[in-house]
Symmetry: C2
Subunit: 148 residues, 2 copies
Amino acid sequence: VGDEGTAGEQLALRRTLHERGLRMTPQRQLVLDAVRGLRHATPEQVCQRVQQTTPTVNITTIYRALDLLEELGLVRHTHLGHGAPVYSAEAHEHLHLVCHRCGRVIEQPTGLLARLTDDLRERCGFRLDATHLALSGTCGQCLSEEDV
Amino acid sequence: VGDEGTAGEQLALRRTLHERGLRMTPQRQLVLDAVRGLRHATPEQVCQRVQQTTPTVNITTIYRALDLLEELGLVRHTHLGHGAPVYSAEAHEHLHLVCHRCGRVIEQPTGLLARLTDDLRERCGFRLDATHLALSGTCGQCLSEEDV
DNA sequence: ATAATTGCAAACAATTTGCATTCAG
DNA sequence: CTGAATGCAAATTGTTTGCAATTAT
């Protein structure tokens, strides 16, 4: 089972939308496909991808579709620190590490935060969300270049 | 020893600046004082604070002073996710937790990340910087309101 | 004098809003 | 028809840049 969504999921989605008087428009589908096809893409990048197929889609529509898809739990966004947030498919739950030297984004399993999550809950009752913010630092490649 | 900087530190700072042909101007001192007086303040907030004393200081100068003070290692900035980054005095090294519900910012000792730092270094050679990005989640207060 | 610093206006990037038009049920 | 959705232009926010005027040494 990949990102594409099974036929059953498609159906469930349509139902959810219909209950709220909303529709799965071509634009929204294009945005969802773009997010699923790209890895941690900014709204701008999603827009470019969508416009390869349908150049008439406006970036305003991209923003509105991303908001809706996020509300529906189909995509999520992560702040990498600088600039625009990046969107990814909800199925891809990852911890993001961003190198402040080269900008590289490294994905790691969220399980790495299990202990920290427990510690924070005990210490101050804070429920950690592993995916909404990235972690910042220096990647291995930049560190080795630094040694030279 | 608080944030204010001892007489010796002031002197060392002046020397460092002088070596690079730079000066500790009234504006820069005001910005440094503002950052030290406020907790995790945005450039906008620093500007307002400075302008309480000296209304003629332009926000461009605030940005430039913050950059310089950061380069000198006197202040640091942290991205809380949404909106503008926040600046704090370098002496205050903290892990920032930001509640995505109410926006509250909670400070915790960076020691909580010790194990994660080790794990990331071993796993993928990534050197974690505990302060540059905040952690996101839901604070205890919002969680208890949710229960009701 | 000379180089650093500032203020101001304008440019810029990312995002949001208002509104008229279009479209599906 | 009616509300939802879109596209477009304009407004907003956060930040940077170009440049002329000012200031300290």
